[in-house]
Structure formats: structure tokens, C-alpha cells
């Protein structure tokens, strides 16, 4: 997809007006994901079209409304006036039939239908209200989840965002630990900037893990226990996360052991090699 094609085929406008085929739509999305110019144009066109539609809907425009298509006029046969009496009689008869049909048959039928409809509508409204209440509860849950996700993403926001509140720390180094299966396996690596006050170790647990809590130990290569953190619980993502003071971790190699606890009985769950790099 080139800019020349995009311009000639009015792709941006057709995208905004939802007139592209699925494949073409996806292709253009792939394009504006890497093209600043097209991304800016598509947003501007979106605003422009929204503005025009808004202006049209709220009656800002001075132009006339679209004329309705002309309905075909009733035409009569060339000799209709030859039989005026017959025509009037036929019309009267037709009118009498219609009135009779409406009064004796259609009106009672419509009343019955209306009563049924009212009943169904009342039932439907009750159900709608119940669904709505459920939905509002689900939305509330989703909002809370979103707030949690935003908290996790907050350290990733660029530097031009507002300064962090006192006591908070942006860009905490984090490592997702992968278990060490053999001695030759590569160590998990974390780069800790000099100004970092804390670092985070994150490890995902087996889905069937049944321990009530966990304890994490960090050991040096001389097998000296550097840190022990107990009382860990599996979080909503099926993982255990631990925040540790960065100052306790000079550059070097460490061994991290995770124990699962059931009734104060500790069982080694996983071991992780960890290499800390400082910069």
C-alpha cells in the first residue's frame, strides 16, 4: 500500500466511512501503524466527518434538506368520466365493506394483539432491567480490573508524563523468572539502573499449584541467603510477584528458590538462576 494508492483511491476517507473491504481495511491499519503521516490524516478525517455529521444532524447547515423522491401521481384511464355513477357506487360499496371489516373484524383483533403486545413488553422490560443490573455489575468489575492494569502500566508511560508522586518510583526493573531445568541453561537476567531503589521478581506458577502460600529465597553463589520473603500469595495472573531492595543486589549471579507451603510444611517448587547487571 503506497501513499499514491492511498490518495488516488481515497482510502483514508473510505476507511473512516467504513467502506473498505475487510482485507483492505486491515492492510490500511497495518500501514498507519507504521506511518505517522497517514495516522495523523486518518484522525483528522475522522474528526472532520464527525463534525459534518454533527452539523447536519443539529441543523447548522443552511442548505435545503434533501428532497424526497417524487411519488408517482395517480393516473386515470382516459375514459373514466364515462361512468361516473358506476364509479361512485363502486366507491361507496368499497367504503362500506372496508368500514364493516374494520368494525366487526379488524378492530377487535387489533385490540387483542395490542393487549398481548403490552403484556409481552412489560415482561421484556422486566428482563431488560435484570440484564441491565447484571451488566452494570460486570462493568464495575471490569473498571476495577482496568484500574489494576493501568497501575501496572503506569511505570511504562513516557517521561513527559506528570512527575511521579512522592514515594513512588517509575520504571522499576522487573524480571519474569523462568525455571532452571539444567546446569547449562541460561540465567534469567535483569538490568538494574543505578538510580533504581527496588526491583521486582515475577514468576508464573503451574495452574494446578495447590499451596496456600509461598516463600522465596535469594542465595548468593556461596550459598549464603541474601533475602527471604514469606507470606507470598498467588495473584490474579497465576503468578507470584516480589519487590526487593535494589541495593541488596550488586552485579553478579544468584540462585532464587521458591518454596510452596502447606500447613507449615515447605516444599521446593522451582529454582531460578538470576544474573544481575548494573548500569
Amino acid at each position: 500500500m503506497t501513499h499514491s494508492e492511498i490518495e488516488q483511491q481515497e482510502t483514508i476517507e473510505r476507511y473512516v466511512r467504513d467502506q473498505l473491504a475487510t482485507a483492505e481495511r486491515r492492510a490500511f491499519q497495518e500501514h498507519f501503524f507504521i506511518c505517522d503521516r497517514c495516522f495523523e490524516q486518518v484522525q483528522m478525517t475522522e474528526r472532520f466527518v464527525a463534525g459534518v455529521r454533527y452539523a447536519a444532524a443539529t441543523g447548522w447547515m443552511e442548505g435545503e434538506r434533501t428532497a424526497l423522491p417524487k411519488t408517482g401521481g395517480v393516473t386515470f384511464g382516459s375514459g373514466w368520466w364515462w361512468t361516473p355513477i358506476a364509479a361512485m357506487a363502486a366507491a361507496s360499496l368499497a367504503l362500506a365493506v372496508v368500514v364493516g371489516w374494520l368494525t366487526l373484524y379488524r378492530m377487535p383483533q387489533l385490540r387483542a394483539e395490542l393487549a398481548q403486545e403490552r403484556q409481552a413488553h412489560a415482561q421484556s422490560e422486566r428482563e431488560n432491567r435484570r440484564h441491565l443490573d447484571q451488566t452494570l455489575e460486570e462493568l464495575q468489575g471490569a473498571r476495577q480490573q482496568r484500574a489494576e492494569l493501568e497501575n501496572q502500566l503506569a511505570p511504562l508511560k513516557p517521561d513527559n508524563q506528570p512527575a511521579p508522586a512522592a514515594g513512588s518510583e517509575p520504571n522499576i526493573p522487573l524480571v519474569m523468572l523462568e525455571a532452571t531445568r539444567d546446569d547449562a541453561a541460561a540465567a534469567n537476567e535483569i538490568v538494574v539502573p543505578a538510580r533504581a531503589r527496588r526491583l521486582v521478581l515475577w514468576t508464573e506458577l503451574a495452574p494446578d499449584s495447590s499451596f496456600s502460600s509461598f516463600r522465596l529465597q535469594v542465595l548468593t553463589t556461596e550459598n549464603r541467603v541474601e533475602q527471604t520473603v514469606g507470606g507470598l500469595k498467588k495473584n490474579a495472573y497465576g503468578a507470584v510477584a516480589v519487590s526487593l531492595p535494589a541495593s541488596s543486589f550488586p552485579a553478579g549471579k544468584y540462585l532464587v528458590k521458591l518454596y510452596g507451603l502447606v500447613r507449615r510444611q515447605a516444599t521446593l517448587v522451582e529454582e531460578y538462576k538470576l544474573r544481575v547487571r548494573r548500569k
Binding site: F33, R47, A50, G51, M61, E64, H131, L156
Partner: protein
């Protein structure tokens, strides 16, 4: 332009996606922030245009980056130079899941619409309204009518050209002039 060829045309000083992915895998959180800064607005726009809700677009952005960054950290991104495509695909998955969930909340959406939240209004703000008003003040009634027939009533260009008695090429020119004028005013308002 293909996605994978972008790395070859990057201005000097900008890191390629492949470099950023590599840095994330080595635990450099600054690279994560760079990727977020680069793609966050696009993901948000995609969410907004597909779901027509600012709150849901924010959800899409947060969930997309959570998934994408977890995948990169865990080395599950097989082709680092196709990062943009990967983020787009992840965003589509999140949107699809949201739409699936949204079927249950359709009634709520309809209610909001009746209360005045028509679909196109997610891209409206006071600056857009002001800019469009100023653009319209400069247009002739016939030109205003064209914009309404085209964007609001969505009639085909041939039909509009026939009704207004102008050539189609003229309509295209008018449309692009109105958009250009709108852009100028809107950008001035945003400064």
C-alpha cells in the same frame, strides 16, 4: 510499504523495533516505554473507532500492551521486526473479545445511544465543533448541501453531482478544500 522494510528507512537516532524488542528481552524498561509511546495512540484510536467508547478504548490499550510486553519479555515474539503487526493483531484480539462480551451489554449501549451518545460523537469535542462551524461559515449553501448529502446522507457522488448540477471532479476538490480548511483551524485551536 511493507512492515519489515521500515527498519531500513528509519531516520538516524531512532531505534528500530527489532532493537527495542531485543532490549526488552534484556530487561531494559526504557525500551518498553519507547514502544508504548510509539504505538499507544494508534491502539487507542483503533479501539475507539471499533468500539465507539473512550472507556473501552482505554481498556483495549491497557490490555493490548500488557499482553504484548509479556509476550516480548517471554521471547514469544518470533519476528521482532514485525512488532507493529504483532501489536495490531493483539489489539484486534482484545477488541474481538470486548465485542463478544459487548453482546451482553448491547442493551446498555442502546440506552446510551438514545440518551444522546450517537456513534460519531466519540470523535467530537468542543474544538471540532468550533472548527467545523467556522468552515461552514465560509461555504456557500450549495457547498454545505454537498457535504451534508455526502457525509451525512451518504449519497453516491454521481447522485449528488446530478442533484447539484456539478461535475464529480469539482466535488472532490470541494471536499479536499473543506478538509484542508478544517485542519488549519483545528490545529490553530489546539495550539
Amino acid at each position: 510499504m511493507s512492515l519489515t522494510s521500515l527498519d531500513n528507512v528509519l531516520p538516524q537516532g531512532l531505534e528500530s523495533d527489532a532493537d527495542l524488542v531485543e532490549k526488552i528481552r534484556y530487561g531494559e524498561t526504557e525500551a518498553e516505554a519507547t514502544i508504548y509511546e510509539k504505538y499507544a495512540a494508534r491502539v487507542y484510536y483503533l479501539g475507539l473507532s471499533e468500539l465507539r467508547s473512550h472507556a473501552e478504548a482505554e481498556d483495549v490499550r491497557a490490555e493490548t500492551f500488557l499482553r504484548a510486553l509479556q509476550a516480548i519479555r517471554a521471547g514469544r515474539l518470533r519476528s521482532p521486526q514485525a512488532l507493529a503487526s504483532f501489536i495490531l493483531g493483539t489489539a484486534h484480539n482484545v477488541i474481538r473479545e470486548s465485542l463478544k462480551h459487548g453482546r451482553r451489554t448491547e442493551q446498555l449501549a442502546e440506552q446510551e445511544t438514545e440518551e444522546g451518545g450517537s456513534y460519531s460523537q466519540v470523535f467530537l469535542d468542543s474544538n471540532v465543533e468550533l472548527a467545523i462551524e467556522r468552515v461552514f461559515r465560509r461555504l456557500k449553501p450549495r457547498e454545505q448541501k454537498f457535504l451534508r448529502l455526502y457525509y451525512y446522507e451518504e449519497l453516491p457522488k454521481e447522485e449528488i453531482a446530478r442533484r447539484l448540477g456539478v461535475k464529480e471532479e469539482r466535488l472532490r476538490l470541494l471536499k479536499s478544500r473543506a478538509l484542508k480548511r478544517f485542519r488549519e483551524i483545528y490545529e490553530r485551536l489546539m495550539k
